[in-house]
Amino acid sequence: GNSSSPADASKPDKLKVALLPDESPSTVIRDNEALKNYLAKTLNMDVELIVTTDYSSMIEAMRNGKIDIGYFGPLSYVLLKQKMDNAVAFAAKVEKGSPTYQAVVIAGTDTGVQNLADIKGKTVAYGDVASTSSHMIPKEMIFSKGKLEQGRDYEEQFVGSHDAVAMAVQNGNAQAGGLSKPIFESLVQKGTIDATKVKVIEESQPYPNYPWVLNADLDKDLQESIKQAFYNLKDESVLKPLKGEGYAPIEDKDYDVIRNMVKLLGVDLEAQ
């Protein structure tokens, strides 16, 4: 580990909070005021909210002490943790009563793909390379349950985002795709995706939800107040834009399942 935060970072006068929304970032920008105000009031300090759409920059910013806490995807947290011992996952979003979420593999209704094994010879759309639910989890599902390997048995295409995955399947550019279940459901609900054209062929097991991560170099008391601020978050107006019911404590080892999956898929994360 090479955590090298400057001395004055342990008790900053302003808490820098970064969000990497794996869905509608514009909504998050519009609605983030509530979260910001809540944190500022609870912690009794200035809060700066930063929203980005790029995993890499957020990881690098966290490692270099440019942000204090951040909301990461499970895989990006694993990537971060590998290079930064002082990154601590402490809270995960509770949805439907559990701090876990699922991914789905979808397929076009008229493609004849009924189950994972049918994907053989087809094109599968994934979101971003570093995305957990729009890449890693569905890929693992197709690999373990469908016994299909990318490149050998089917072709993969990265299309950038969850929404784009669903769209690519709907308009037939890909026969199947993988994305986060909550996002898929909201797309169907909004009518962006026509349920008669796209169907879910497999749901994943539950995986630990997106974690809030803090820098362990922060002042111990401050760390504790931050944790409590999330655990005690009940305010509907704050939670609603975040599409959650609250935040539950979580630990680093909860993400071992992601690490195993990464190894299983043969992604080499053992840099340096």
Partner: protein, 274 residues
């Protein structure tokens, strides 16, 4: 020698009257100044903290250090992506040149057929530049599916905007005397273009077009993100999973390509001059 003579500095006078000079340039320079000072102030205000926080250089060196040494094992897997990118960039540039070169003449004051056509085509160029490659690529992926084809179309169309603008501006800078040379013989507008304008803009146009080829090669990073393939996708993928040593190795591969295009350009340039 202490007394400085303003006339002899590089400001170019458009008339002998000082007043007119200033009212001409005053607006331009004034608005430029406002823009620059305003931007500077804004930047300093919002970035003061970042600029003064101590560990800028240290962080910079660390991330650069992590790229070293480049991991050349990745090169072995780059064969097809490089070929793909090469084909994509060549085709995109070809399409762009084929569309932009003729249109450029219509967009240049010197050679256009009517001012309304001139402004219309300039507007088209501006519109094509406005739409990012990424957006064009998404549209074309939706239309023709994955692969290098949507990449070619996206890069090609976007390039029309830049090349057309540059061609037109070069045309408007040709020596009017040499246009007269062809006109004086009774040459048609097309003859003027073929025998006077094109020989004069050829060298610049080749430079622009080669630059755009190189640009399109590099821009595959953008369209690579949404499934248009090529070396750009490899770069983004390595970046995403923080394989910085791979990133550097891929960048070095791209650099060699850029150097080659540059050398190609130099060869043509020296042949044209000699």
């Amino acid at each position: 020698m202490s007394q400085v003579n303003q006339e002899a500095t590089l400001l170019i006078k458009s008339s002998s009257s000082k007043r007119k000079f200033w009212s001409n340039w005053g607006v331009i320079l004034g608005s430029g100044l406002v823009l620059i000072v305003g931007s500077l102030l804004y930047t300093v205000i919002v970035s003061w903290e970042a600029l003064t926080s101590g560990n800028v250089l240290q962080s910079f060196l660390r991330i650069v250090g992590e790229m070293l040494p480049p991991d050349f094992t990745v090169i072995a897997t780059l064969g097809e992506p490089i070929l793909e990118t090469l084909a994509m960039s060549v085709m995109a540039t070809l399409i762009a040149v084929a569309i932009a070169f003729p249109l450029g003449f219509l967009a240049a004051e010197t050679t256009t057929i009517h001012p309304s056509v001139q402004y219309g085509i300039k507007g088209l160029f501006n519109a094509l530049r406005t739409i990012p490659e990424l957006v064009l690529a998404i549209i074309f992926v939706a239309s023709v599916g994955f692969g290098i084809l949507p990449g070619i179309l996206a890069l090609g169309l976007h390039s029309v905007g830049m090349l057309g603008k540059f061609y037109a501006e070069a045309i408007d800078k040709v020596d009017k005397g040499l246009i007269e040379a062809v006109e004086s013989c009774g040459g048609s507008r097309f003859h003027v273009i073929a025998f006077s304008v094109i020989p004069q803009i050829l060298s610049h146009s080749i430079d622009f077009s080669l630059y755009r080829w190189e640009y399109n090669f590099r821009a595959s990073t953008v369209v690579g993100m949404i499934g248009a393939g090529g070396i750009g996708f490899q770069l983004i993928a390595s970046l995403r999973i923080m394989q910085y040593q791979e990133v550097l190795a891929i960048l070095l591969a791209v650099f060699i390509m850029v150097q080659l295009v540059d050398a190609f350009g130099n060869t043509i340039r020296s042949k044209l001059i000699s």
